[in-house]
């Protein structure tokens, strides 16, 4: 046993200071012969749960602690007892949340159960006076150690040796400095010396440490004494549930039962069937047994705060949730099994996810904090670590690389798949060198990439999880340190995985834009027609128009089924399905399957599923698989299928099978998954399953890594999808307006407007007297809202709308200027956007701007604020003012692109009509006639979805639209290598390729990509039609017309 134990160690969970990972620290400590290790990250327990796990794996006893730093004082606090842990959490929370925090007085208040190490003379002297126990003087090798030794001798406090470890190896000091430079926004040469630790603060071995303490050997011995005193036997098995109105468990159960049966009678009618009664009874028993009673009541209380929610996740399998109004899918009707949510063997607490309309979420969170007390509630954190991409960018800045160069190089690195190079080459150095060689990057880039790759994973800061919230019965600061986010919300220091490991039950309050779309559409319908959709009796699932719309895959704008991949799958599923099967299938059930099947690693099973759904023959993997997964044609679709197949094929226990399912979605799962794989292969083989079958099934199980859904979750989603589809089918204008207004859909506004036109709606321009802030849909028209003007201020628009509502429509431009307090730049935008066209009469848009400038000039001369109502616009000699010619058509379009982000009055491909004609392009509506033949098509790139083949080659699925419709295309690796760099959304392309038909859906396999702007140069010299695009009078040549690009990679679909 070693005499010396490292008691002051920072991992990369010390924000922007610690360099080494927990694994690296523990592995090195183990190699050095240590049996105990402390983790003392700066002002936090950010990685405490993971440290306990990793240290245990390496056979080390984990000591939890933190280095508390505040102003000029500092101390290392180590947990001696479980009370000490509570106190440490409270102390750290106070450090972050209390603006009047005073470390010298706070530490003694919470010192019970803590060991305190410090070399802060003022602090130690004061704490000694207050008779603090377990107080030590920290001696760290370096120039100032003799001061600490003197302090120890002077005060009589025992010394203890530490090395204030910030990195494992000596040479990593450079990485620490870079990290500090990133944190302080400076360069290495300007980095203050005191902002960094010393170069010798590494994980030194016992022999190295011993050399520094010949004069105080007791300092080394004390480390062992402290280590043996500290608490190392951590147990976080206990689940911490929220409390509802301080009810006892019996009271809460009575209330839950009453509410459940009341809800059941509303959902199923006054007389409940035996099946429903039995199910409710079983579930209530299980809920009571697992102590979830109060949790359900809390969730029910929260859900009641909004009339429109979507309870999702495994909770949707519960009839109690359904009866309480937490979820809205009938688990009996859709065969959802409660055991997926709660079962006897499940040890980890399941959480309930609730979607609220995105713009109501903050109100709900405020309610929770107010209702359950700010001390009992906190949000879950996200650990924002340095990913390689961010690390390269940040290190680049430290090395003085200009933003433009970073913006130039970063996309090239991403395109080159450079972020995977260190992993692919099994070495940071080799990976960085290979990447820079491949991209032709010279100094200092190889060093930047190398340093960045070494810093990957370091904690930068906390952010607030999008919806995770923890409610505890007493004080949250007992369980975990709490910080205050930039928005002023209390946030725990753990992300969701660690919170769960610590037994904290999480509730997900998420914002959902589609719920807001549904709400806004229903409101608009009520406003326009007087008819209000009754949501309690609304049954879109059995509506023929809605089913037909889904069968046609016309689902753009519909929740979760609008992505190109989903729509393509829907088309393949229905288009070539034999009529007899199609007639009897349940569209809702299939939509539930489709929602689950579209996930990153499952695309190779999609084709097989469609084949089987069409009734085609297939070779059975194993009879047990066929039998277990009969509902999904022998394909693993839902999360619970993993558990079911593990039980059926390999004889896993329910608990183990459920754990396997859970591990698949974890971030740090490599080791556990390896264990499960070995067990699965061994157990299945023992049960006589062939090696090939085991491998096939395990591959299917692996397709659930990343994210995947359980059936209850998909069913909840599918129901919202059906509601969206219903509204799209019956009230298209109101629906599309709501989709655009709530933003955040899969497509850009331009793509939604194109879809609206294809749906037969007329898109109306901006009008000062008719437009509102939002888009408005009515009948067959969709009016653009002021929100689309990118630079228009909301406050100014609300002012003008208020004036319009109060005193009636504006009668003229002059009337507008007289009545509204305006800023000239804002009015200029409105004029260029054509808002005044109906009012202007014979005055052109340039003429209006001229008058605006004249008004402004006169106001400046007279010292008046324009538009204050006192400016006599009539006093200007308007009649004598020039009326210049209107802007040319091309320039108006350019203005639309500048102001709205896209052309409104023409389709951008119309600019290139002549070049398309020249190449005899096939419209998308005709492409199915040319299956197998090489054709050329034009297309405006709407979305791209990067993908990788089994051989890890980059390829892309793209969706384009031409003047006749949307079409999908596939760019396979060979072609992607040639043309991938040219592909970008919102650009016009000529694609040469071969239409291919699969299951009745036609897609283009691309052979050649030409950016239309490039082709036109040669065409303009030959064709007169194209010459108009190069009007010499224009500032910006027409061939430069292009909308801002975005390279968003969506995860779904």
């Amino acid at each position: 046993m070693q005499a010396f134990v490292h008691l002051h160690v920072h991992s990369n969970y010390s924000p922007m200071a610690g360099v080494s990972s927990l694994e690296d620290l523990c592995e090195t400590a183990q190699a050095q012969g240590s049996d105990t290790l402390a983790l003392t990250d700066t002002n936090g327990l950010y990685g405490a749960m993971r440290f306990v796990d990793v240290a245990t794996r390496f056979g080390l006893k984990p000591i939890l602690g933190a280095e508390l730093v505040h102003k000029q004082h500092r101390a290392v606090l180590l947990v001696k007892t479980t009370d000490g842990y509570d106190n440490l959490c409270r102390l750290l929370s106070a450090r972050h949340c209390d603006s009047a925090f005073d470390m010298l007085s706070a530490v003694p208040r919470h010192a019970r159960g803590l060991m305190v190490l410090s070399d802060d003379a003022a602090a130690l002297t004061m704490w000694k006076k207050r008779r603090l126990q377990d107080l030590y003087v920290e001696l760290t090798p370096g120039a100032l150690m003799h001061h600490a030794v003197a302090l120890s001798r002077r005060t009589g406090l025992p010394p203890v040796a530490t090395n204030r470890v910030h990195f494992v190896r000596r040479e990593q000091f450079y990485l620490h400095r870079v990290l500090r430079a990133i944190a302080l926004n400076t360069t290495l040469s300007l980095l203050p010396h005191e902002a960094c630790c010393a170069s010798n603060h590494w994980l030194a071995s016992q022999s190295d440490m011993t050399l520094h303490y010949p004069h105080v050997p007791e300092a080394l011995r004390n480390t062992r004494r402290i280590a043996e005193t500290c608490h190392t036997d951590w147990d976080f098995q206990e689940t911490i549930f929220p409390a509802f109105r301080h009810y006892s468990d019996a009271q809460a159960f009575a209330v839950l039962g009453r509410k459940t049966y009341e809800g059941a009678r509303q959902r199923y009618g006054v007389t409940l069937s035996p099946e429903v009664r039995d199910r409710i009874r079983t579930e209530l028993t299980m809920i009571r047994q697992k102590r979830f009673v109060q949790y359900f009541l809390v969730v029910e209380d929260i859900v009641r705060q909004s009339p429109r929610t979507c309870g999702r996740g495994s909770a949707a399998a519960s009839i109690v949730s359904y009866c309480l109004g937490i979820t809205h899918v009938d688990p009996i009707r859709h065969h959802l099994f409660f055991e997926r949510f709660l079962n006897v063997g499940r040890h980890d607490p399941p959480d309930i996810d609730i979607d609220f309309p995105w713009d109501e979420r903050d109100r709900i969170l405020d309610y929770i904090f107010a209702r359950y007390g700010a001390t009992c509630v906190a949000m879950i954190a996200n650990h924002n670590t340095l990913g390689l991409r961010a690390a390269i960018r940040e290190v680049g800045k430290v090395y003085g690389v200009s933003p433009s160069e970073l913006n130039d190089v970063m996309p090239r690195i991403v395109r080159q798949n450079g972020l995977d190079y260190p992993r692919i080459h099994f070495s940071i150095d080799r990976g960085a060198a290979a990447l820079c060689r491949a991209l032709g990057l010279t100094d200092p880039w190889p060093e930047i990439v190398r340093v960045a790759a070494s810093l990957e994973g370091c904690l930068q800061h906390l952010s607030v999880h999008c919806g995770g919230i923890v409610i505890v019965p007493d004080d949250i600061r007992r369980y975990v340190p709490v910080q205050i986010s930039a928005k002023g919300v209390a946030v725990i220091q753990w992300e969701k995985d660690q919170a769960e490991e610590a037994g904290l039950v999480k509730l997900d309050i998420l914002g959902n834009r589609s719920l807001a779309v549904i709400r806004d559409t229903i409101e608009a319908i009520a406003c326009h027609t007087g008819y209000r959709v009754n949501e309690s009796t609304w049954d879109p699932i059995h509506d023929a128009s809605t089913r037909s719309l889904i069968l046609r895959a016309e689902t753009i704008g519909c929740f979760y089924v609008e992505s190109p991949a989903t729509r393509l799958l829907l088309r393949k599923l229905w288009a070539a399905m034999p009529a007899t099967r199609r007639a009897r299938l349940d569209v809702f059930e299939y939509l539930v399957i489709v929602s689950s099947l579209i996930r990153p690693a499952a695309h190779r099973y999609v084709r097989e599923f469609v084949r089987r759904a069409h009734g085609e023959d297939h070779q059975s993997v194993h009879p047990i698989v066929e039998q277990t997964l009969a509902e999904t044609h022998g394909i693993l679709v839902y999360q619970e299928d993993v558990s079911r197949i593990a039980i059926a094929l390999a004889g896993f226990s329910v608990e183990d099978a459920d754990q396997l399912r859970k591990v698949l979605s974890k971030k740090h799962k490599k080791h556990q998954l390896e264990d499960y794989k070995v067990r699965f292969y061994r157990d299945a083989a023992e049960r006589g399953v062939s090696g090939q079958a085991i491998e096939t099934v395990w591959d299917m199980i692996m397709s659930f890594t990343g994210y995947s859904f359980c059936k209850p979750h998909s069913a909840s989603y599918a129901q919202v999808s059906f509601k969206s589809a219903y509204l799209r089918a019956h009230y298209p204008a109101e629906f599309m307006a709501a989709v655009i207004n709530n933003q955040g859909g899969f497509y850009s506004t331009f793509a939604y407007l194109s879809e609206a036109r294809r749906m037969g709606l007329t898109v109306l321009p901006l009008d000062i007297n008719l437009s509102h802030w939002n888009y408005t849909g009515h009948g067959q028209t969709l009016r653009i809202g002021f929100m689309q003007l990118k630079s228009l201020s909301r406050e100014f628009t609300e002012r003008l709308l208020l004036e319009r509502t109060t005193n009636g429509p504006f009668r003229s431009f002059r009337d507008f200027l007289d009545r509204v307090v305006y800023e000239p730049a804002q009015v200029r935008l409105l004029i260029k956007a054509g808002s005044f066209d109906r009012l202007a009469g014979e005055v052109t848009r340039p003429g209006l701007i001229w008058r605006l400038y004249a008004t402004q000039a006169q106001g400046d001369r007279q010292g008046m604020f324009p538009g204050s109502g006192t400016l006599p616009f009539a006093g200007l000699s308007c009649r004598s003012m020039p009326i210049p010619a209107d802007y040319p058509h091309t320039q108006k379009i350019q203005h639309e692109i500048d102001l709205f982000g896209f052309p409104v009055t023409v389709h951008p491909l119309e600019w290139y009509a002549s070049s398309s004609d020249a190449r005899q392009c096939i419209p998308s509506s005709e492409m199915h006639r040319y299956v197998g033949k090489r054709i050329t098509m034009t297309g405006w790139l709407v979305t791209e979805k990067p993908a990788r083949t089994q051989h890890n080659e980059a390829m892309e699925f793209i969706m384009l639209e031409d003047l006749t419709g949307l079409y999908d295309a596939t760019v396979f690796p060979r072609i992607f290598r040639l043309y991938g760099h040219m592909l970008s959304t919102n650009r016009p392309y000529l694609l040469e390729g071969i239409p291919e038909e699969e299951f009745g859906a036609v897609t283009l396999t691309v052979r050649k990509v030409i950016l239309l702007r490039d082709t036109k140069a040669s065409i303009t010299t030959q064709r007169r039609g194209a010459l108009r695009l190069q009007d010499p009078g224009l500032r910006q040549p027409a061939d430069e017309v292009g909308m801002p690009t975005s390279r968003r990679c969506r995860r779904d679909g």
């Binding site: 000091f173 040469s189 690389v401 340039p846 003012m881 209107d886």
Partner: protein, 405 residues
């Protein structure tokens, strides 16, 4: 009296010089950048290169992607200065009033030289031929009654053409020209063009037709000037050659320097050169300016008056340090360092009435100044690099840490 102004330009002057030295570049795409390092930026591009989409301020790496056959050459300041002086020698034979805007670009006032050399057009032609014959540099010229007209005329032709705008036809000549070809200052250009675009005024002819009173609300203080320009009126004079207004030294750092310990040393090195030059010219610096050009082409410049004037390093070094701190505020590599001694005036060596030492000689008697003089002597005898101030040695300081890990 009718003025005859010639605007003479050798387009892409540095490219033309590079082609003189390497005949094989004549028809090939050529660009000038501080170095051929991929991160360097293009400062000049030949017509062939521009045709492939290469523009100034583009990185060499990006330019090479657009035009793989691009030839990149580094600028040679001494060669440029030498060539410009040679051109001026030709120009000076025809008129004493010339203004060099930038190397290879001059305005000449030929007013009153008609009886001596013939019409301005012929003179410009002879000058162009002379330059082409002697130096094999092909230029173009615009001739008009003002700097504006001659400049606008020169933009419409290509070497070796000339464009002569006859007196009285200026307004008609300018009328169809787009407003964005006007030589507006960088500060006002964006606003003026934006406002003209707003009211859909595209040509100089349209500006000329608008009453000035109506133009004022749109263009404000610029209205009068632009209205006059649009009618061919530009009274600005060709400024005669002025004496060198300051002593300047520039250092190019490729691929850039970020070390805040090293950069001041490099600045001191430039200061050594400046001071040596000032002592040689027996002038004193009264204003010191430091200019840093960052890797993203942003330039930051700060000046400080120096009172009393001085020509000694020891006096100017603190000033350099202060200015550097003010300039070096960005976390981007510095690409170019420039030190400039402004308002250099001759050293006033007024003898005193009673024979005591005057101020200048008492200053020079300080040990640091005597040392500087001694160093100057050594440099004259053994070369510039033989000795230097310790502060001006970039690697003399202790580096704060090793870069290896």
């Amino acid at each position: 009296m009718n003025r005859h102004i010639v605007c003479f330009t050798i387009p892409t002057f540095q490219v033309a010089l590079a082609r003189l030295e390497e005949a094989s570049l004549t028809t090939r795409p050529v660009a000038v950048a501080l170095s051929s390092n991929p991160r360097s930026v293009i400062t000049e591009a030949s017509k062939e290169a521009r045709r492939d989409g290469i523009v100034t301020n583009m990185s060499v790496a990006q330019a090479r992607r657009l035009c793989p056959s691009l030839h990149v050459r580094s600028p040679r300041p001494d060669r440029i200065r030498q060539a410009n002086r040679a051109l001026l020698r030709v120009v000076e034979r025809f008129t004493p009033i010339w203004e060099s805007v930038q190397p290879g670009h001059f305005y000449l006032d030929l007013t009153g030289t008609t009886r001596l050399f013939g019409p301005a057009c012929d003179t410009a032609m002879r000058m162009r031929q002379e330059i082409a014959r002697q130096y094999r540099l092909s230029g173009m010229a615009g001739i008009g009654n003002s700097k504006l007209v001659s400049y606008m005329a020169s933009t419409l032709v290509e070497p070796p053409q000339l464009c002569d705008i006859r007196s009285g036809s200026e307004e008609a000549f300018l009328a169809p020209l787009p407003v964005d070809t006007l030589p507006l200052t960088a500060a006002s250009r964006k606003t003026i063009l934006m406002r003209l675009d707003d009211v859909n005024v595209r040509t100089l002819g349209e500006i000329a037709r608008i009453p000035l009173a109506d133009l004022v609300p749109v263009l404000g203080q610029h209205a009068t000037l632009l209205h006059a320009w649009a009618r061919g009126i530009d009274p600005s004079r060709v400024l005669p050659p002025a004496r060198q207004p300051g002593v300047e030294a520039t250092l190019n750092l490729e691929p850039g320097e970020l070390d805040s310990n090293r950069l001041p040393s490099l600045l001191y090195r430039l200061l050594e050169y400046i001071c040596r030059e000032l002592r040689r010219q027996q002038r004193q610096c009264h204003e010191l300016t430091i200019r840093l050009q960052y890797g993203d082409n942003v330039e930051v410049e700060h000046s400080q008056p120096v009172h009393p004037g001085t020509l000694w390093e020891v006096d100017l070094m603190p000033c350099v340090s202060r200015l550097f701190v003010r300039c070096f505020r960005r976390r981007i590599r510095v690409r170019t360092l420039t030190v400039r001694a402004g308002h250099p005036l001759p050293v006033a060596e007024q003898l005193t009435l009673f024979g005591w030492d005057n101020q200048a000689s008492s200053m020079a008697s300080r040990p640091a100044c005597r040392l500087a003089l001694a160093m100057d002597t050594l440099r004259v005898r053994f070369g510039h690099g033989v000795i230097g101030w310790g502060k001006a040695q970039p690697d003399a300081g202790v580096r704060s840490s090793s870069r290896t890990f």
